[in-house]
């Protein structure tokens, strides 16, 4: 029974990791950019929600809605003025720039908010739970998991059923030919990063509600997200969800065996999948 319980907790936790990872997966799929600052951008989002909550006395969900357009603009500016300049055949510049950005953001947050851990409050929703047969499921983890599915559904809808999505796919396949058809790849990249930041603010909301956060936790969360993207298969959002679930389940099952093994077993599961399926479980893009 404990195992069934931790299995379900793990699946739900996987939803959170998939939310962390969906933005990364989208950006990588379209422009092959590995953004090492993504985790810190999520943590920044959590502080932004906290700021809105405390300044305007908003509900956390409303604060997220208010923050979303701001995050879109931030992502758009980041891509347009910094990341677009370093994208190219050489993988070194974008990695180093986003790594630098990660260190800068962590320390700016540390300077403005101190190292004390903070939390977002969702009121009674946090402790509410649902009894399904013999299992108790928290409403919040369930909501996170459902949000992850909705986010992926919406992203896939955008990618496969809108003209913007067509431009995304065209740029992803062949930026040179896409630009012959009147698409400006760099503008498409900016919109994509803006979109990824909207996903990031949703991830930030649940990060803050589910656990404490402080300026330094970005990279630790980011690593699970990257693992989810890699074992899911690059470029596939459903793969990313599957990857997130595998990491989540490995962590909760590992923790039931020995609490100290929680994080470790997630990483080991990642390596095992990598060993068996080097290209991930549901690979889409070949590169």
């Amino acid at each position: 029974m404990i195992f069934l319980d931790s299995l379900i907790q793990g699946i739900l936790l996987g939803g959170l990791y998939a939310l962390f990872a969906a933005g990364l997966s989208l950006v990588f799929g379209i422009m092959r950019l590995v953004n090492l600052a993504h985790g810190d951008l999520i943590v920044f989002g959590a502080y932004l929600i906290l700021l809105l909550v405390s300044l305007l006395n908003l509900n956390v969900f409303v604060a997220t809605l208010v923050a979303a357009p701001f995050m879109f603009v931030l992502g758009w500016i980041l891509q347009k003025f910094i990341l677009n300049r370093v994208l190219g055949d050489d993988i070194l510049p974008p990695l180093l720039v986003t790594f630098g950005l990660s260190i800068v953001m962590q320390n700016v947050l540390l300077e403005t908010w101190s190292a004390d851990s903070k939390r977002l409050s969702a009121g009674a929703l946090e402790t509410a739970s649902l009894t399904i047969g013999p299992i108790n499921v928290g409403i919040m983890p369930l909501l996170i998991f459902i949000s992850a599915i909705v986010v992926i559904l919406v992203l896939n809808l955008i990618i496969y059923h809108t003209s913007l999505g067509r431009a995304f796919r065209a740029t992803s396949d062949d930026p040179v030919t896409a630009s012959l058809m009147g698409i400006k790849p760099k503008n498409i990249f900016s919109v994509a990063t803006g979109l990824a930041m909207i996903v990031a603010i949703i991830a930030a909301l649940y990060l803050g509600v589910r656990s404490n956060f402080d300026p330094s936790i970005g990279p630790a969360r980011l690593i699970y997200a990257f693992e989810a993207v890699i074992i899911g298969g690059l470029g596939s959002l459903w793969g990313t969800l599957l990857g997130g679930i595998i990491i989540g389940v490995a962590q909760t099952v590992g923790a039931t065996i020995n609490p100290e093994w929680q994080i470790l077993s997630g990483h080991i599961a990642f390596l095992l999948v990598l060993m068996v399926r080097p290209r991930g479980l549901l690979p889409r893009a070949f590169d």
Binding site: I82, R85, I91, L92, F99, L101, N107, I263, L274, M275
Partner: protein
């Protein structure tokens, strides 16, 4: 028509003379220098060693690792392990640290090389985390809280008695002098080894793989072999440096020994600011790094913010770093690796 191939330049010949003077001076420096200067130089030499190895990986090999802290921590813990559990002397234990890092590099490379391009970086980072979490479970070496080198081991360390007599000084000063000398030897050997590697056929193959994988393959370079060679040698050198750094600190904990900021972020900024893909760059970078540190040392967060911003700025506007800016205008190369062709006019006339 005949030609000759030259690698040497006037500047490089002067650099050889400079090194021939500077290195012996550095060796006798403990006779005159203060203890704090020796400690600063120890820091410079060890950081420069780390920067050179990372530069070989990323700048020459195109292998951007953000998990080099795995080898620092592994080298340091293996050094502590052999001292505490096997009763070795700390000085030969440094070598054990390098070898342990080399062994860790085997599975790391196996997994990380499966990941394409930028995801290689993530692979190395995951392995570093796994190593940190695993070592934190090792209760005999203090688990998550860490441990210190036993007093008996640090007191009776090899060479320390000799240095005490030679310099007529206390044990603690003698230990610093020993650490300084070892760091000096390590950094000189590191630069010499990397320069030698780059001047050989393997170095040429390495650059070819970085610049164009397909073209390199087509002229018979085995890219896998060359990647493995680079990764393993960098791990060995980084492990030695890690063991040496923690021999001097004499206290270790998993969070410090596997710190991304201390052992990877700083190193990356040193290389990027100085000039990636050159041997001179990290040397310049480590000096800038030390200068910034002495100005901003008391503002921990601002120091990192400044370093990060300079790093981003350099990547955006001067991707070849400070050394790149310098050579663009002057063409000076202290450690040239390019093979340049010169027409041999005399010979061609005769024919």
């Amino acid at each position: 028509m005949s030609y000759i191939v030259k690698v040497q330049t006037t500047a490089s010949r002067m650099a050889v003379i400079g090194a021939a003077i500077l290195i012996p001076v550095a060796f006798v420096l403990p006779l005159f220098a203060s203890r704090s200067l020796l400690q600063d130089l120890f820091f410079i030499f060890t950081m420069l060693t780390l920067a050179q190895w990372w530069n070989l990986l990323a700048g020459y090999g195109g292998l951007v690792s953000v998990g080099q802290q795995a080898f620092i921590g592994m080298g340091a813990y293996a050094m502590f392990g052999t001292v505490i559990l096997l009763g070795w002397d700390p000085v030969p234990s440094i070598l054990a640290g390098g070898i342990a890092a080399l062994f860790l590099a085997l599975p790391t490379a196996f997994f990380a090389f499966r990941l394409q391009g930028a995801y290689f970086a993530i692979g190395t980072w995951v392995i570093a985390e796994i190593t940190r979490l695993t070592i934190a479970q090792w209760k005999q070496l203090g688990g998550g809280t860490g441990t210190s080198l036993p007093r008996s081991a640090t007191r009776d360390m090899m060479f320390v008695d000799g240095i005490k007599v030679l310099f007529d000084t206390k044990t603690s000063v003698a230990r610093d002098i020993l650490a300084y000398w070892l760091a000096l030897i390590l950094v000189v050997l590191t630069i010499a080894a990397i320069y030698w590697l780059l001047r050989t056929r393997r170095g040429l193959a390495l650059a070819a793989v970085r610049d164009n994988l397909q073209a390199a393959r087509s002229v018979g370079v085995n890219p896998n072999k060359i990647k493995w060679l680079t990764f393993l040698s960098a791990a060995f050198g980084t492990g030695l440096a890690g063991a040496l750094i923690y021999m001097q600190k004499a206290r270790i904990s998993p969070d410090a020994a596997f710190s991304v900021v201390d052992w990877t972020a700083y190193v990356i900024f040193i290389v990027v600011i100085g000039g990636i893909g050159t041997i001179e760059g990290p040397i310049l970078g480590v000096l800038v790094f030390l200068l910034l540190q002495s100005i901003l040392a008391s503002y921990g967060t601002w120091y990192l913010i400044t370093l990060g911003l300079i790093g981003i700025f350099v990547m955006l506007f001067a991707p070849r770093g400070l050394w790149g800016l310098l050579t663009e205008n002057t063409g000076i190369q202290l450690f040239p690796v390019q093979r340049r062709l010169f027409m041999n006019k005399k010979l061609s006339k005769e024919k």
